[in-house]
Amino acid sequence: MTAYRLSAGGLVDRSAPLTFTFDGQSMQGFEGDTLASGLLANDRMLVGRSFKYHRPRGIVSAGVSEPNALVTLGLGARSDPNTKATVAELYAGLDARSQNRWPSLKYDVGAVNGLLSPFLSAGFYYKTFMWPAAFWEKVYEPIIRKAAGLGRAVLERDPETYEKCWAHCDLLVIGSGPTGLMAALSAGRAGLRVVLADEGFRHGGSLLSETTPIDGAPAAAFAAAAITELEALPNVTLMTRTTVFGWYDDNVFGALERVQKHVATPSAKLPVERLWRIAARRALLATGAEERPLVFGGNDRPGVMMAGALSTYANRYGVAAGTSVAIFTNGSAGYRTAADLSAHGISVAAIIDSRAESPDVAPSGTRVIRGGSIVDTKGKLRLSGLVVERAGFEEIIDCDAIGMSGGFSPVIHLACQRGAKPLWSEALKAFVAPDVGQGFGVAGSAAGLYSLPACLRDGADKAQAFANDLGFSTSPADLPVVGAEPDPSFTALWYVAGAKSKAFVDFQNDVHVSDLGLALREGFGHVEHAKRYTTNGMATDQGKLSGINATGLLAAMQGISPADVGTTTFRPFYTPVPFGALAGTSRDEHAAPKRVSPLHGWAARNGAVFIDSGLWYRPSWFARAGEKTWRESVDREVLTVRANVGLCDVSTLGKIEVFGPDAAEFLNRVYCNPFLKLPVGKARYGLMLREDGMVYDDGTTSRLGPEHFVVTTTTALAGGVLSHMEYCAQVLWPDLNLRFCSVSDQWAQMAIAGPKARLVVQALVEDDVSNAAFPFLAAKAVTLKGGLKGRLFRISFSGELAYELAVPAGYGEAVADALMEAGRAHGICAYGLEALNVLRIEKGHVTHAELDGRVTPDDVGFGRMLSSQKADFIGKRLSTRFGLTAADRMQMVGLKPIEKDKDIRAGAHLLREGAKPSTLNDQGYVSSACHSPVLGQFIALGFLKSGRERYGEKVVIWDRLRGEETLAEVCSPVFVDPANARLNL
């Protein structure tokens, strides 16, 4: 009554024994084993507990369709839950643990759920735990989650590394069984760039368990020879352990390569898993066919397996799943398994054939029960026998394994991932792939050809057709000679009548026949509804075994064809893909690129505390010894700029140079204010609108020559404005003669602001920067003392006398150092984003806190900038629409708390005094707020309905987040120097 390792046979390396552990128990396997074959060789039939009822479950399959044998591999942070034992490659030291059981796999408390199963039918939770509603989240769901489930995700940081990679080929062959190998050989010989990918750790697919000889040699030897030939072709790339999981636009396929999942200690030089994007001119699906389980009473007991899996374990791994095996089949495949087992000396207890008549021949001496069916199985934690019924006569047959074969379904998932629905073939009693165009074909068993010679021929033919289609010449395929094979036909058998215990359809999610019946009865009979109502096919195996039987049962229950029921939708991923692989190297600080300002080193040397600002890291403030809070540093920086001079890095602003005879006309249309008459050597503030009349971006634009401008954008929209301008130039006005390009990275740019700014700038710049020679809004190329060429702009964001000096980026740090040196005698300080923000709020200057996509120029006090003289500009037409000119629009105002020590935060809303907070009573909001060291109190900018008419009025600043209400006075948004006297010093 045991599973055991056969004395000979299989493709495992018997000279390379491996020790591994399962639930702490040490076991022996061989190189070439999967964890599943290793477990079976050690007579480990029980490997897990089911999701809902905690029923004992054993290995069912020998591949990725496995619903039961899910284990956790590895320890600690490296733990990998829900790994299929049938796929996991055995290696020395592998540590595997069973899941969803407590306290142990053998004695599982949760199995009490099985006794409650009459109550735990489909939809049970939804119907039962509906009231009270709040209890679902807090009480019911946590308990259910604890009872039902699979492996536990690890909460520790994933220590593994992942990467992504691109590949390109003429032909991608998916699956290296007989069809895929012949296709790769044909295409490779014709000179195509071929990628052959297979999910297994060894190429060959079904050939590795095949007993029919090819060219007089074992099929595995044919596969090995084919691989040797393919390896020698430079135009062929072979990929093992690589699952092609998705088909995407432009014939790009996603694939997951398990580079180091099969080693105990991964090398740091390689990723553990690699995500491939394979751009294929043509692709061939050679994924074979999946054997179907049979839905009979007690079909989930450990020991009940797919017949093909029994053959694979015996032929490929040299493992017998039992000493006495019964076969339950509806076609010839069961007889092939019986023959395979007999050949290995494994006793076949009986072949139970659902068909009353069949031409198939059983191995000599094997009992065949035609027209019979299994109605129950015996045993507790593993199978000990079955109950067979024929014409009302029941008989118990002792056995320790059952091989079930319910026919075959082509594996067509990938071909149906982009919307095409599978088609029902009455001849094949299966769903087949529809025609999905010339880029992607289906061959071999995946196309419903189940005989070995037919697969080999089909692979060769389809690859040749692709080669010819792509312009490669081919010679007739040299097809190997294969012996005769039995007729692969079967009769559909969806439901085995007379079940005496639960007949499972979906093993992993514990869905049985009566759940589907309940779904149908309650109006959820549509295959997509039934899936969600019963959870059939929603487990990690995504219904690879259960999907077709659910369709067949739903059809049979309604007396209609499976064609009328259809399948659920096939979507990526074919098998689970870890999030780590999808992220690749883009994690932690590498989730996005970091942009480095040319003045970064200067800022760091001056004590900058950096802050994320889009992709940039910008100095937030420059802490000095003794300053205990950031506010102390910021207040000092602001006061220094107002009293002396400060230096700020403004390199991150977008800079776009515009050339050409129509450059001025172009800018005149892009900005809402006029630019045609901007004199050479002058800068002008510009406001860019969207077509809908809302402000898009602002910045200064300088005319360096008659046909040469430099536009500055905000840091945030540097890319967006460039794209917008490209759109305008290429699509809206292709007739304008101009060209432009971004020079954002070419220049290091420094703002030097404060009443003493001129002294500092003049110390470095050769040209005269006096107020007379270089007045407010002057802009021109200058020469620094020593000869360095730069650009100087007299523009101010702080409201102080200010210059912006630009030098080629590499010189930025040296020039900034020199400015600091020159300014030392004048009390210069470096200032960061926080001080910049305080300075501009004090002056009522806007940023994207105000220009948030909802404001018009008039809302921010720039209504007069809208040029009525211009024939057209972007945003002109829609600026006049009702609503954008309404009198009660929210307008930008200043806000000062009545009690001086009260603070204000951005995001708070404005209410009339005494008004109840409500959407209806909302009067506006605070957009920016800061502590003004000049005024000695908090100040804010905000938007208030008809705000400019309401200076002097008191409003309530209502901060729901902090539960605060502050009374404030509405005032002009310009708090400091409203006459702009300081600009023109």
Binding site: W166, K269, A279, R595, W616, F659, Q746, E821
Partner: protein, 183 residues
């Protein structure tokens, strides 16, 4: 007052100066002249022809009517002057020597390394010597040119160079990629 300013490479301190190049090597140009040439509308073909006719110029196509012209020998000023003289009114020339960083990746595994970041087919039949393209390398937009069978040059915006260097080293770690400044 200081009159001579040091030109600091953005990767200074991140790339060793004197590492002997391995089989697969990433060289960072210590300085280079890079000028963007924008053909005036209608002059695209004429500009392309002139750029191709001068053997001293390495012009990388980067967009319709737009090239990155690179010189490892000339100063930015001289290259800019030479191009302005060559092209006259037919094109606008913008110095980007400080705004870009030039990297040269060589070795038998150069293609395999780049395939980890760039979706472009780098097979010689699809991307031959002399071809260039603007592509994403991971998150970062670069101009990639094939300058030899196993040699590629990458031009990247200065502010992204630090991250790109990190990414390329990561992409090359399986092949023991070495990096150094190009003398």
């Amino acid at each position: 007052m200081v009159h001579q300013y040091a030109d600091r490479h953005t990767l200074e301190g991140l790339v060793p100066a004197d590492v002997s190049a391995g089989a697969d090597h990433l060289a960072v140009a210590a300085r280079q002249a890079i000028v963007v040439v924008l053909a005036a509308p209608g002059q695209e073909a004429a500009v392309a022809h002139l750029l191709a006719s001068d053997e001293d110029l390495s012009a990388r196509f980067s967009a319709p009517g737009e090239w990155l012209v690179i010189s490892g020998l000339q100063t930015p000023e001289l290259l800019h002057q030479a191009l302005a003289a060559l092209l006259g009114d037919m094109a606008h020339c913008i110095d980007q020597s400080h705004g870009r960083v030039l990297l040269r990746l060589t070795g038998l595994n150069a293609r395999a390394i780049l395939a980890k970041g760039a979706g472009l087919d780098l097979h010689p039949s699809a991307f031959s010597v002399g071809q260039s393209a603007n592509v994403l390398c991971g998150h970062i937009s670069v101009n990639l040119a094939r300058v030899g069978d196993d040699a590629f040059e990458i031009v990247v915006m200065r502010s992204f160079a630090d991250t790109l260097l990190h990414d390329l080293r990561d992409m090359g770690r399986a092949f023991d990629l070495t990096t150094a400044f190009l003398a």
